[in-house]
Structure formats: C-alpha cells, structure tokens
C-alpha cells in the first residue's frame, strides 16, 4: 500500500453501480409522490390577463392547480402594510455586481408578465404526469401579447423593451481598461478590426432537471432532492423562500445525469414550487411528497442557454505581429432575466486575453435583455467566445502580415519567467486576474510537434493533388479554474477502519467518488476501496459553494487533502500514545500506524486505524467487542482528562480550502479538417490537444473530461445552434432538431499530450480540467476552415449551408469554380 494513488489512472469506483442500472437519478426516486406539470407561456412576451383552471379540476387524479395568486396566500401585494410571502417575491439575484445596474429576475410562477416562451404560469399537481399534462391542456390562459425582443440586433436597436422599466434593454455595462488604449492604438504600426458573431447553444445534459420534496409534518421539516450542481445553496434558497429555519431543510443531489452549467442556476422556479407544494399539500392532509421531472421540451424552453454574442475587436500590432493594443467590444444576449448576474460576460471580457499580453487592453461589454430563455454558464462559460475573439484576431494579424499563425502567437505568449502574471483586471471571482503558473511556449512547442504543424504544407499539397481540400487550425486558451470562496470536506475513520468522506459540492459524472478517494487514501495510507465519498448531500456536509468553473478537484480535492491530513495527524498522535513511541517515528500505510522501518504485523510496533478510531472516542458504554477497549476502566491516564485539551472525540476532522485567487489551467488544440468541395461538410481528420491542468489526480478521468469537452466543442462549432424565430418561438426544441454530435460527428481519435505545471496555490498543485475541452473549439474550427477555404470565417457555428453560402460570396476566388470543375 505504498503506491501513491494521486496520479494513478484507476478505474472509477462509481461505475459498477451505474452500469447495473442501480444509479439513483432524480426520477428514480419517489415512486409514490404526486407529480407536478406546468402550463408554460406559449408567447415570448405577453401580459397574463386571466387564468381559467376550471376545466383542469374536473380531471380525475388532479390534486391541485396553483397560480401566482396562490403564492400570495391571500396577501395583497400592493398593500405596503403586509409582507408579501417570500415565495411570491422575485427569485433571487444570485450574483449581484456593481455593473449590473438593471437586474431582473422572474417569479416562481408568472405574476403579470411572461418574458420568454416556456416561462411557468400555472402548476398542476396530480397523481401522475400523464394526468397532470391532461389537466395542463385544459387550463385556459388569456394573454395580451406584447412585441418580443429577439436576438441581439433587436435588443441593441431597443425599439421595444423586454422590461418596460429598462427601455434600452441594457442589464449591465461592463468596462475595464489596462494601459492607455487610445494612445497605444494610435501609435501602433498596424491596426485591423474584426466583426464577429457567436450563436446560442445549450448544455443539454442527458438528464434534465428534476425536484422531489418530502415534507415531514412531525418535524415541520423538508427534504428536497434536486438534480443540481449546488445542493447547499438550494437548501438555503428553499429555506429563504419557504421562510423556514435552515436547520429544517435538507437538500440532496442524487446521481445527476450531467450538468455542464445549467444546473448551477438555482433556485429554479420548480426548486421553490415543488417544496412549497409539498408543504402546502401536507398541511392540508392530502399528501406530503411531490415530484417534478423535466421533460426534454421543457428543458429546451425553460432551462438556460448560453454563448450568443456579437463582438467587435480592434487590434493594434507591430510588424512582428506583437499585439500592442486590444480594444474589445461585445454585446451579450442574457435572455429574459439575470439571476446568475453577469458572470458570462465578465469571463469573456477577462479570459479573452488567453496566454497573451497586449500592452493595452480595453473592454466594453453590454449585457442585453431579450425575450428568450435565460443565459447562464454552459461549460466554458463565456471563454469560448473570448477565445474566439482573440484567436480570430491572431489569425487575422498573421494573414495581414503574411506570417505563420504560430509565429504570430509565439511573439505574444506570456513566458514562464513572467509568472505569476498580473493582467491588472478583476476576474469573475472578484479577485485580481493573476495567472499563477503555466508554460505556454512549451505547450505551443508540444502542439506543433503533435499535429506536425511545420510539415503541414506537404500534407496540403498531397491532398490538393488528390483533389481534396484540407486545412489546419489551432487555438490557445487560458482557463481560470477553482475560484473560491471555499470548499470543505469531512473525513472520519469509523471503528471498522473504513473511511467515510463527505464534501458539499455535487457530482455530475466527474468521478469524484474515485478521485477524492485517491486523495484521502494517500493521506491515510488506506486502500481506495475503503474510502467512501459522498457529495452534494447537506445531511453530510452543509458548507459548500458548488460544482462549476472547473473547481471541484481544485477546491474539494484540496479540502479533502487538508481534512484527511488532520485525521492522519490525529491518528499518529493516538498511535504514538498507544505504542509509546515518538509521533515522528510512525507512518500510516496499509490501514495501520506502524513504527517506520519495522515489518508488518510486528509486536508492539503497529496499531490498525480501526483501533485508533476506537481509542479516539473515550467511552462509558461499549457497543461491541472492539469498543470495550475504549471504555473508562480499560484506558486512560488518570492525570489527564479523557479527551485532552484541544482534541475532540472521534478519528475525524473537517478541513477547508479557501484560495486567495483562481488557478489558471491552459491548453492549445489543433485540428486538421477536410471540407467537401460539393456538400461543404467539414470532416475532422486529426484532433490534437495539449493540456495543462497541473497535477493529474486521475489521468483517466481527466482524459475523459477532455474527450467530452472536445465533443461538445465540435457540436458547438459545427452543429449546435438554438434557433429562435422573430416571434421568440424556439424552432428546434428537440433532440431531433438540435443537432448534438453522435459518435459519427466527433474525431475518430483525440490525441492528447499533457503538460503538468503544478499550481502553487494549493497543496496538490491541481488546476481544474472540467471545461477545458470545449473552450477553443469555435476558434479552432474557424481557423482550420479559413485555412482550407481561403476566406475569412467570422461567425460560428458554421453549418454546411453556412459554408456553402460563404463560398458563393467568395466565389470569384475559391469554391464555385471547384463546383463547376467537379460537375
């Protein structure tokens, strides 16, 4: 058991259970619960005039129908003398920011106005989903339809407003400037301006959202299961909305079938309404369990989207391609409300800088309301857009100067001797944007070698001679990961010798039950199989932030290391007492504390952890044979209190990790593509990744994260696009129409090379890895397609039809003659 577990690509411990169908996702729970369904707005923008639910109440099996009026519970919302129930007040603004001058959030059920198709208006509770949907169909809502604002052009034009009291549709204007942009730009030998466009996409986890609440009338308490990325915070939000003491609310994230960001938003209307209905129905003596499981269409029209931005970049650069001044303006579509603040545009505005160091930088970002689903982080969270802006700029500079695209990037890279590198900006965590470590030139050298950058002209020539058109592209990124404020962990060695570990953040497939166990196993010298990890269950750990921003391994991994380190120290102290040796002469390995250099099983030289766990808890009452050893007539130095001062009973500890700033992972992707001269389809020939996320806790899991990110990136670059019509109707709200990649669309092989530059900010040197794979994709494919086709690519995603139209536009130079040739 001396093998170090951190760094070992061991199989995941959660797999057998999930593979046998023994996972417990939200809808696998609560078979006897009543079930909720919602009447959602069919209009993008309308006043709710009247709700007639009379037809629904006749449906057999319907238990309750709720509207906003019911949330008021008889209170007149316009009477200042009476407090409006919290549940009838707007949903919380989760992340306020000084630049977010006109924040707006919705109500759990629409109050007077609906602002996107899919906004919940009426809640039905019934015996099962079929019946609940029958009832929904019989509810007649009268709307006074208003003109919707759809798309950034309409939002910017502001001929109509989403919220009447925000006439310019501007939720936030964010400005940051470093250096004297105007004078550096004026003095730059070359300048160019790019207009760029990125369209909407969405997380689309295979499991949608879901909530299941159980009211306990004997204790006046509630347990809420929800498919969330932030169980501890949902708990606090439910307590606030139901006006309950926090200690009467528990929240559990069961197995979660993917998140990718959409489940970090909370409380969703349903996370408030389902517990509220469970309490209300229980108090009426009707039922105490209510469940809602989101269906796919609901997910499309009521869960969050991301990505859409319009950008204008002006770059000033010297004749080597050195970026002197970067002036970045963008308009960000935040949808109908801003519950998650302006995190996405903040990230775009800071992470646009990537591994580069412009002398002067200015950003103006406008976050705009539209009558569409809210926009909150989707894996990458604003970074793909920022990287698109910067990497398109790098390619444009290279084209302008007639230089190699890598050469231009190389003169702009921050070098290792400049670390830590302070961009003098504020990052999404409210902390200075300071890169802690990284070796970008080494990454660039690795990706060049891996993809064969310098030899590509021969590949291109060969292809050309075969009548094929190929292109190569690359894109670099830096990703701030592991933002605070903190995470914690609790580690206990039970008297069986088994280790039970809990952390508050949640898991959506990242393999935390394995990677966290590896970290703890190393600290305690136990078998990974003896470490059981629980995440996202407030019954086990109540203080946490959540799983987002590639932070789980950095934050909870570090907290695990800290907590397990405390347990190790305590075990060694107890063992030193028991064996009457010096603490420094002991080590933990193979589940025992042993005098260093002595053989296993030696008399008087080792104590099992299980025994140390028994001894750690002085007892009056034995509960089994082993625990007799800890009772008061068995042990104890009579001159000392049974629990020494400064100690606590139990071989357990809680540890926290709270970094002063984020740690910055990085990477460069390269892709070789072939474009079909006739159909304009893009085929991926090679896909290469160089990735630096510091210490790899489990390389197998990290590679899996990269693979998944790359696939989502391919989807985002070439296939996925959320399409609204001018009325704000979502035209492709199904898996049939929203084109996520199957195996046939992803690269046949993803070639990965790791660089491990440990973070100096945490004890294990970990940087986050969850989002990286998706970040450079739009920029990457734009670069490669541009290289293949010979005309500029300025907007993504790019479908074959889009590419075909671009070819027509540039026909005099490229595609049309080819088409004729082939014909």
């Amino acid at each position: 058991m001396t093998t170090k577990m951190v760094g070992a690509p061991i199989p995941r411990r959660e797999d057998p259970r999930l593979l046998r169908g023994e996972g417990r996702y939200l809808d696998d729970l609560g078979h006897d619960a009543l079930v909720a369904a919602f009447v959602r707005s069919p209009h993008a923008h309308a006043r709710v005039v009247e709700v007639d639910a009379s037809g629904a109440l006749d449906v057999e099996g319907v238990v309750a129908v709720y509207t906003y009026e019911d949330l008021l519970d008889g209170v007149d919302p316009d009477d200042p003398a009476v407090a409006v129930p919290a549940v009838a007040q707007p949903l919380p603004l989760l992340i306020p920011h000084p630049a977010l001058t006109s924040p707006r959030t919705g109500y759990p059920l629409a109050r007077e106005e609906v602002n996107h198709v899919g906004e919940p208006v009426v809640m039905v509770v019934a015996s099962d989903r079929y019946v609940a949907e029958d009832a929904c169909e019989r509810i007649v809502v009268t709307y006074d339809v208003l003109t919707p604002v759809v798309g950034l052009d309409a939002a910017r034009a502001a001929e109509h407003a989403v919220h009447a009291d925000v006439p310019d549709n501007v939720a936030a204007h964010l400005g940051q400037e470093v250096g004297d942009l105007d004078s550096v730009m004026a003095a730059a030998p070359n300048t160019l301006t790019l207009e760029l466009d990125v369209e909407r996409s969405a997380c689309m986890p295979m499991e949608g959202k879901g909530v299941y609440a159980i009211w306990n009338g004997d204790e006046d308490s509630i347990r809420v299961y929800t498919s969330t990325q932030a169980a501890t915070s949902v708990r606090m939000a439910v307590a606030a909305k139901l006006e309950m003491a926090a200690n009467k609310v528990e929240c559990v994230a069961p197995d979660v079938g993917g998140g990718f960001g959409v489940k970090i938003v909370h409380p969703w209307p349903e996370e408030v309404l389902v517990p509220w209905a469970a309490r209300r129905l229980a108090q009426a003596g009707i039922a105490r369990e209510v469940k809602w499981t989101e269906d796919r269409r609901e997910h499309f029209v009521s869960s969050a989207h991301e990505r859409a931005q319009q950008q204008v970049v002006t770059a000033g650069f010297d004749d080597d391609g050195r970026l002197l001044a970067l002036d970045f303006t963008f308009w960000h579509d935040n949808g109908a409300y801003t519950p998650y603040g302006i995190i996405v545009p903040i990230i775009t505005s800071t992470q646009v800088l990537g591994p580069y160091k412009p002398r002067a930088y200015r950003c103006h970002a406008w976050s705009l309301y539209t009558n569409t689903v809210i926009v909150t982080p989707y894996r990458g969270a604003g970074r793909p857009q920022g990287v698109f802006a910067m990497e398109r700029t790098m390619d444009a500079i290279a084209a302008h100067l007639g230089k190699d695209r890598v050469a231009v990037r190389e003169v702009n890279l921050i070098t290792p001797d400049e670390m830590p590198y302070d961009h003098q900006l504020l990052f999404q965590d409210g902390k200075p944007l300071v890169y802690d470590s990284g070796d970008y030139p080494a990454s660039m050298a690795k990706i060049k070698a891996l993809v064969g950058w310098d030899d590509f002209e021969a590949v291109r020539e060969q292809a050309r001679s075969e009548g094929r058109r190929v292109g190569i592209g690359l894109a670099a990124y830096v990703e701030g990961t592991g933002p605070g404020p903190y995470e914690g962990a609790h580690v206990v060695v039970e008297t069986s010798g088994k280790v039970k570990v809990a952390t508050g953040l949640t898991t959506q497939g990242q393999g935390h039950q394995t990677s966290f166990a590896q970290i703890v196993a190393d600290q305690l010298g136990v078998d990974v199989a003896d470490v059981e990890v629980v995440t996202g269950d407030t019954r086990r750990f109540r203080y946490a932030v959540g799983t987002f921003a590639s932070r789980a391994a950095v934050m909870s991994g570090s907290a695990m290391h800290v907590a397990a380190g405390k347990v190790r120290d305590k075990a060694l102290r107890i063992a030193a007492d028991a064996l009457e040796v010096d603490v420094d002469d002991l080590e933990l390995l193979g589940g025992v504390a042993r005098v260093k250099g002595t053989p296993a099983g030696g008399p008087g030289t080792e104590v099992p952890l299980a025994t140390l766990a028994v001894l750690s808890n002085p007892l009056r009452y034995a509960f089994d044979t082993a625990s007799q050893a800890a009772t008061q007539f068995s042990v104890g130095d009579h001159s000392q209190p049974p629990v020494p001062e400064g100690e606590e009973p139990g071989l357990e500890a809680t540890g926290y990790y709270s970094p002063n700033k984020s740690t910055f992972a990085s990477g460069i992707h390269a892709v070789v593509i072939e474009t079909d001269p006739l159909t304009a389809e893009v085929r991926i020939l090679r896909y290469c990744v160089v990735h630096d996320c510091g210490t790899l806790v489990n390389p197998k899991i990290v590679e899996g994260q990269i693979h998944g990110g790359v696939a989502q990136g391919v989807g985002g670059a070439l296939y996925e696009r959320i399409v609204y019509d001018e009325h704000g109707q979502l035209l492709n709200a199904s898996y049939m129409d929203f084109l996520m990649p199957y195996v046939t669309e992803v690269p046949a092989r993803i070639e990965v090379d790791h660089l491990e530059t440990p973070s100096p900010l945490n004890p294990l040197g970990i940087k986050g890895a969850g989002e990286a794979g998706v970040i450079p994709s739009a920029a990457l494919f734009a670069s490669a397609i541009e290289d293949a086709e010979g005309f500029p690519i300025r907007s993504m995603p790019l479908s074959p039809s889009d590419l075909f139209e671009l070819r027509m536009l540039h026909a005099d130079r490229t595609a049309a003659p080819r088409l004729e040739d082939d014909a």
Binding site: R12, L19, M206, D255, D295, H707, Y735, M740, I750
Partner: protein
C-alpha cells in the same frame, strides 16, 4: 391482455426472465411502465422521442426504444433491461466490464442504453472492427464522454466475450 371498461389494460410480459403482469393506463409507455410500475429505473428517459437511445431495452433480444412503445405492445414479449443482463454470479456482463475498463461512462445516464445496444450488437457481430464499433453506437447520444471510450468499450467487450467463450 385485457381492457376493462376504463382505460386500464392488463399486460403480461416477461421482464428479465420473470413473468410479470401489470395493470396500467392503456397509454402508458413501456419506458414508464418499466420505471414507475415495475420500478426498474435502470432504463432512463432522455428525449422521449426515440433520438437519444437512453431508454433502449431488448425486446425479444433485439434493441428497442422503450419510450416509443406502449407497454401494451409488449404483451407476450420478452423484455430485458440493464438490470437483467448481469450474470447470476453477481459479476458484470462483458459490456459492463468493458465500460469499467475503458472509462466508458461519466454521469452514467445514457449508459444503460449504450450497454443494451452494444450487448445486442455483439450477439450478432462478435468480432467488430473499429468502424463497425462506431456504427454499433451511432444511434445513441452521450453528452459526457465524447464517445472515444465507448467505442473502445465495444472492442473491449468483444475481446472479453471471446475470452469467456474460450474458458
């Protein structure tokens, strides 16, 4: 199958080798019947219109999307779910083991559908090439893995099956 004067039907079918009789509203989907009436929740529902494949079960040994079928249509048929493919000794089916070996799953939600699809595929194509392995899984969606390791798992499962066959 019998229909009472209301909308309920009584359906007899074999599920994972066991004769079952369920009385459900006639419109009940097979996926819902399995999950909520028989409480075999390993069969997952991802899209409800037959695109994602998470709900794939075996109907008389052939893969079928249980979200596109009424429970009543399964009358007299043999349905195998992910709960029913592990060997009786408590071990894992070759496909399940291959997923462990190859890190073929992350959140695990789509996984049962892949496992059932691949298990059926290998019955008919025990020795697939890499291209055939791709083809075998080309009708199922996964949002986590990027498919690389699922494709490897198809080949690994074939290898494990061959090893089982020679034991």
């Amino acid at each position: 199958m019998t229909t009472d004067e209301g909308l309920d039907v009584t359906v007899r079918l074999r599920v994972n080798g066991v004769e079952r009789e369920i009385t459900v509203p006639a419109r009940t989907l097979l996926s819902d019947a399995l999950r909520h009436h028989l409480r075999l929740t390993g069969t997952h529902v991802g899209c409800e219109h037959g695109v994602c494949g998470a709900c794939t079960v075996l109907l008389d040994g052939r893969p079928a999307r249980s979200c596109l079928m009424l429970a009543a249509s399964a009358q007299g048929h043999e349905v195998t779910t992910v709960e029913g493919i592990s060997p009786a000794d408590g071990g894992l089916h070759a496909v399940q083991q291959a997923f462990v070996d190859c890190h073929g799953l992350q959140c695990g939600f789509c996984t049962p559908g892949f496992v059932m699809t691949i298990a059926a595929y290998l019955e008919e194509n025990p020795d697939p090439t890499e291209d055939e392995a791709t083809e075998a899984i080309a009708g199922n969606l996964c949002r986590c893995t990027g498919y690389q390791n699922i494709r490897s798992a198809v080949l690994r499962a074939a290898e494990l099956r061959r090893a089982e066959g020679t034991e």
